[in-house]
Subunit: 376 residues, 2 copies
């Protein structure tokens, strides 16, 4: 196994590409979907089950972990991998996004951000240097630069100012990260939906130099069309020979569209969060298991799926346990959704590798357009 | 595999005994602990995981299942085994106990009980005949007679009247159950803590004739000493060549004491319910994972336990996920508790088989007396 972080670009098919990220903790096949393990757990899943779906890498949240149980405690306990019993790669975000979305009384200055914990109101501060320290204490394999995420809606000046501050912080993140063989640091492109600001951001990041490049500031309510417009341009502004990571995306059709536009990595809470509210994602679109139409349905959620929810149980059972608010409902639907997402990625990797991604996309959209199976 | 229900008494060591219940769906090694799968799920566990702990049989609740999703629906879907994906034996209670403890506006007459659902207030009726019908629709392997459970505290007259009504209902249950090869019907001894009433009840049941005999009306707040006093007498009043099932028991030391007094089967929600509130049971007694003493403890909950909680995670992690109210906390602690209970039963079966159950009990109590490991 390699002692270094590297990225091998594989096959390109239109804008889409396959690749292999090598890390000392294992390889990541791209395009890759990263399940989110916010508080050192992918909610309602054991880590072995997450791996069984085909996930090569998890995402951990700096913001949540710094507040509880704290990065220092995780470090004393041997790092995040040992703590949560996941020995494969972990990517950690920088905390910037959650400080904006979850933190209270946020105050940004040029040096960093001060905020109060959403858990207990305690006061905390994050700077690029502190974010790098926390991610090092966690033992993260792929570290994200600390960036400033403007609350939306924001005008162009605010987006530009925020982007430039984030680029200053990217330089400081790079300096603070230092030289850590086997660990990677990713820069984050910002600039909202403005191609010129995106270009300026990409230029700044390329000048600094990173192991990978994320596209930040999307999937924040702009809608799929606007996001795709941005993705028609943004990936091409980033180095071709480094992984491109679209943060916080998304629904299955968002993911397919992003891959078609040259994105290599994504993460989203959607499959796990949906699973806890009775929502399932299948080849045929979204299925709400709470719906009474499933109450007497002996058929599996998806007869082609290999997950425990589909191989062991009927829609009627899933409906029952969702209605009765049984934990097994969250367990089974989260597993199914994560399995569906990983199968989706595997299908895309195979199609791109075979040079038939356009055909694959047609089939993907056609199956979804059929909608869920007819009620019995 | 046998097509009939049978019980082979194995080794007797003092009052304790081993045995083997044979059913068309598999054998049950006794003494047996039955995890409770109230609403067609052992809460926070997948059925394969329950089996992995060593459980040979599950308990299902007639009261819960008749209300949601209904016995008729489960029957249409192929029975409870298929519905919940558990192909081994299932014992169902009769509904009598939950009607008393959960049902609202309960009205008992000599024919049966009318009550309102705790879920939606809808009105329902249970009689011996209807309870037998529901348990048949569920596809239960071991069916319990429908009995009347008096609300406590109750005086001797009330206990006696209730017991005699339950014995009338036991006759009606027997008649309604009919002849169902491969399925068993158990009578339930009542009579509170009064040995004479217990004797009268046992006499009535033996005259009717059942495949097994339960001891009901205990573990309802009388305390361990009073329960053990009753168990010094009650099992001996029941046929020696049939399984004896103590309903709703209990804590590990209750279970050991009951086995020592000739009980073969038990069930209790304690291991699963405790697991959902951060409580663990180990050889050394009860451990509250919420306690801050575990926050930095890298050691497993029990270094001798083979469950995923103990082999994959530290006490610090369990503490973290319990505090953060993560579902994985319920999953891991429930699994551990069920594993501990099954290991406890396996240990007793082995000791009884080897004729050293007295020594085993000394060791059991001595290890518990040591208490949990010292904080680090």
């Amino acid at each position: 196994m390699t002692q270094h972080f590297s990225f091998d670009l594989g096959v390109t098919d239109g804008g889409a590409r396959t690749g292999l990220i090598r890390t000392p903790r294992g390889d990541i096949r791209t395009p890759a979907f990263m399940p989110v393990g916010t508080a050192a757990t992918v909610k309602a899943m054991l880590p072995g089950s997450v791996r069984a779906t085909g996930a090569d890498v998890l995402l951990g949240n700096t913001y949540h972990l710094m507040l509880r149980p704290t990065a220092e405690r995780i470090d004393r306990l041997g790092g995040l991998h040992r703590f949560m019993n996941w020995d494969r790669p972990i990517l950690t975000d920088s905390g910037g996004f959650q400080v904006m979305s979850l933190g209270e009384l946020r105050k940004v200055d040029s040096d960093g951000v001060t905020f109060k914990s959403h858990i207990d109101g305690s006061k905390h501060r994050l700077t690029p240097e502190r974010s790098m320290e926390i991610q090092r204490l966690l033992g993260s394999d792929i570290v994200m630069c600390f960036d400033e995420c403007p609350a939306l809606p924001a005008d162009r000046d605010r987006i530009a100012t925020s982007m430039r501050l984030s680029m200053d912080w990217a330089e400081r993140s790079r300096a603070a990260f230092g030289d850590r063989p086997g660990h990677a640091l990713f820069g984050i492109q910002q600039g909202g939906l403005d191609p010129d600001l995106r270009a300026e951001s990409a230029e700044r990041l390329r000048a600094i130099g990173f192991d990978g490049y994320a596209i930040g500031g999307l999937a924040v309510g702009e809608g799929q069309a606007a996001m795709f417009d941005c993705l028609d341009v943004a990936p091409g502004q980033l180095p071709e020979d480094r992984p491109r990571y679209l943060m916080g995306v998304g629904k299955p059709d968002d993911i397919v569209g992003a891959v078609a536009r040259g994105v290599d990595m994504m993460d989203c809470v959607l499959p796990s969060r949906s699973g806890r509210t009775g929502q399932a994602w299948t080849r045929r679109g979204q299925v709400n298991l709470r719906n009474a139409r499933h109450a007497d349905d002996p058929r599996p959620l998806d007869e082609t799926c290999t997950c425990p929810a589909c191989t062991g149980f009927s829609r009627a059972y899933l409906h029952h346990v969702v209605r009765a608010q049984e934990i097994i409902g969250s367990m089974l639907l989260t597993w199914h959704n994560l399995q569906y997402y990983q199968d989706l990625m595997a299908g895309m990797r195979e199609a791109i590798g075979a040079g038939r991604f356009a055909t694959w996309q047609e089939s993907f959209h056609a199956t979804r357009a059929e909608g869920d199976i007819e009620p019995i």
